[in-house]
């Protein structure tokens, strides 16, 4: 009786370990499959990078040194004052009030849905 209980326990342990190993194998295979099927996407992104001349990603559009970190000069975060702190607006989870951002802006973009060119 004890032996059958031990066998059951071992089987349970083995199946748990096997399930976990299979999960890792699936994860690696899924990652490899997604990498292999991203060849077209890679060529598309290279086209866009060639057109724009920069590979900076749209991770933060709140300021130029975050939008284009590789093209901004090293002092860009401090450009508005020699001793100003880098407030890193995109580094905060909560953004500043929109009124603050709107200050000093020019013009607006208005969608005009009334007219369709075709």
């Amino acid at each position: 009786m004890r032996t059958s209980r031990s066998k059951r326990q071992l089987l349970l342990l083995l199946s748990t370990c096997l399930a976990l190993v299979l999960a890792v194998v699936w994860m690696i295979a899924d990652a490899a499959r997604r990498r292999a099927s991203s060849a077209q996407r890679t060529s598309q992104s290279r086209m866009v990078v060639r057109l724009f001349g920069t590979a900076d990603m749209v991770l933060s559009s709140s300021s130029r040194w975050l939008r284009h970190p590789s093209l901004s000069e090293p002092g860009a975060p401090f450009a508005d004052g020699p001793a100003i702190l880098d407030i890193d607006p995109a580094g905060a989870m909560i953004g500043p009030p929109l009124e603050v951002l709107a200050g000093g802006s020019r013009g607006v973009i208005e969608p005009n849905k009334s007219r369709r060119s075709r």
Binding site: A31, L51, G53, T54, G107, N112
Partner: protein, 394 residues
């Protein structure tokens, strides 16, 4: 083999006898591994995206600095740069930013000259739904899909843009596909003429000059020659851009990692406390084991197996959950903490850079300290005299 199987069974029984403690430690371990793995997977995937795309970058980008800030540069300098040996193409570019208050976001405005040979020959259908603006067109615009969606626009719709002192109605003739949203989500592409007016860049001046070399390895030499030719120039080479990005991701990922360190330390302290808190029952258990002939090494091996089993299950559960969270659920919450807030987020449809070696390293990083935290106290207890242990003396 039989001995090890018996030890594994004993370890299993031991874990089951203290099911509450085992389960809480397993969940805490999975949670800590999940947090670290999510940050690692996300930053590695972004790093991969950048590396893959950066091959199309120009070898050198020439800017001009005035008072330490980027300023417009003479377009005529492009001809001088073309004369430098090794330079095969020079492209003066007009681009800049535009803030839209009602969307509270900065947009990148790019001017493109579609008459350029390399652009007319490119299969743009792959990256753009529709087409690029015609050369010299006054009323055509192409946008990132996210921006167009933000504005409620569809292909063929009209949009009013403030170009210079006027507000000009333009047609949306193309949108960048969502596959390239990571680069184009906030971009407005205009013809070179329109971009110049829109960004108020005078004729004869440009934002910067892109330079392509026949031998990219000679970028440093070419950069030195450009610096001699244009003393106030800032020349950025492609490798420097790559380093900037590595640094950016390392910083962001590192900050997140540093924020998670207290959680890891707290977990290890908890694990040490729980596993070394060998109570009277466990003292007696080890005492009995030693009294019936178990060696110290057997006691340690049993505890080692228990640690390995719990640690492996917790670590793999955490890593697997992190993979699903980042690449299937698109990292809700984490992306905004790691990348910052932004008005126009492209959807983070990232390609995983996860490899077997990464997973093995992650598992080892979590399991090894955890096993050590559980084994060392057991070893210290097992070294004692069985009589002392049975009496429950500390």
């Amino acid at each position: 083999m039989r001995t090890q199987l018996a030890l594994i069974l004993f370890a299993l029984g031991s874990a089951r006898r203290r099911a509450g403690r085992t389960l809480s430690i397993l969940m805490a371990l999975a949670l800590v591994t999940f947090a670290f793995s999510s940050v690692l997977f996300l930053t590695e995937a972004l790093r991969r995206e950048y590396r893959m795309a950066s091959e199309a970058l120009p070898d050198l980008t020439v800017q001009r600095l005035v008072a330490g800030r980027p300023a417009l540069i003479e377009a005529g300098l492009a001809e001088s740069l073309r004369q430098i040996p090794g330079v095969i193409a020079v492209e003066p570019r007009v681009w800049g930013y535009f803030f839209v208050p009602n969307l509270a976001g900065n947009f990148t405005v790019m001017g493109v000259d579609t008459a350029q040979a390399d652009l007319t020959n490119s299969p743009w259908a792959g990256a753009v739904d529709g087409r690029l603006p015609k050369t010299g067109s006054r009323d055509e615009v192409v946008m990132g899909k996210s921006l167009a969606r933000f504005l409620g626009l569809e292909l063929g719709d009209a949009v009013i843009l403030p170009v210079g002192p006027h507000r000009i109605q333009m047609d949306l003739v193309g949108t960048f596909k969502s596959e390239v949203a990571l680069w184009s989500a906030d971009v407005i592409v205009l013809s070179l003429t329109n971009a110049r007016t829109f960004l108020q860049v005078p004729v004869g001046q440009v934002t910067d000059i892109a330079v392509r070399l026949s031998t990219p390895d000679e970028a440093v030499v070419a950069a030195r020659k450009i610096a001699e030719l244009i003393p106030d120039a800032r020349v950025i080479d492609r490798q420097l851009m790559g380093r900037t990005y590595d640094l950016t991701f390392d910083t962001r990922g590192g900050v997140m990692g540093a924020m998670l360190m207290p959680a890891l330390i707290a977990f290890l302290v908890l694990a040490w406390d729980r596993l070394s808190g060998v109570g009277p029952a466990e003292w007696r258990e080890i005492g009995v084991l030693k009294a019936i002939g178990w060696r110290t090494s057997d006691v340690i091996a049993a505890r080692l197996w228990e640690g390995v089993l719990v640690g492996f299950c917790g670590a793999v559960l955490g890593i697997f959950a992190a993979y699903l969270f980042v690449f299937y659920a698109r990292a809700p919450g984490l992306s905004s903490v790691l990348l910052g807030w932004s008005s126009i987020y492209p959807s983070l449809d990232l390609v995983p850079a996860v490899t077997l070696s990464q997973v093995v390293v992650l598992i080892c990083l979590v399991v090894l300290p955890f096993v050590a935290a559980g084994t060392v106290p057991a070893w210290r207890t097992a070294m004692r005299d069985p009589h002392q242990l049975l009496r429950g003396a500390s």
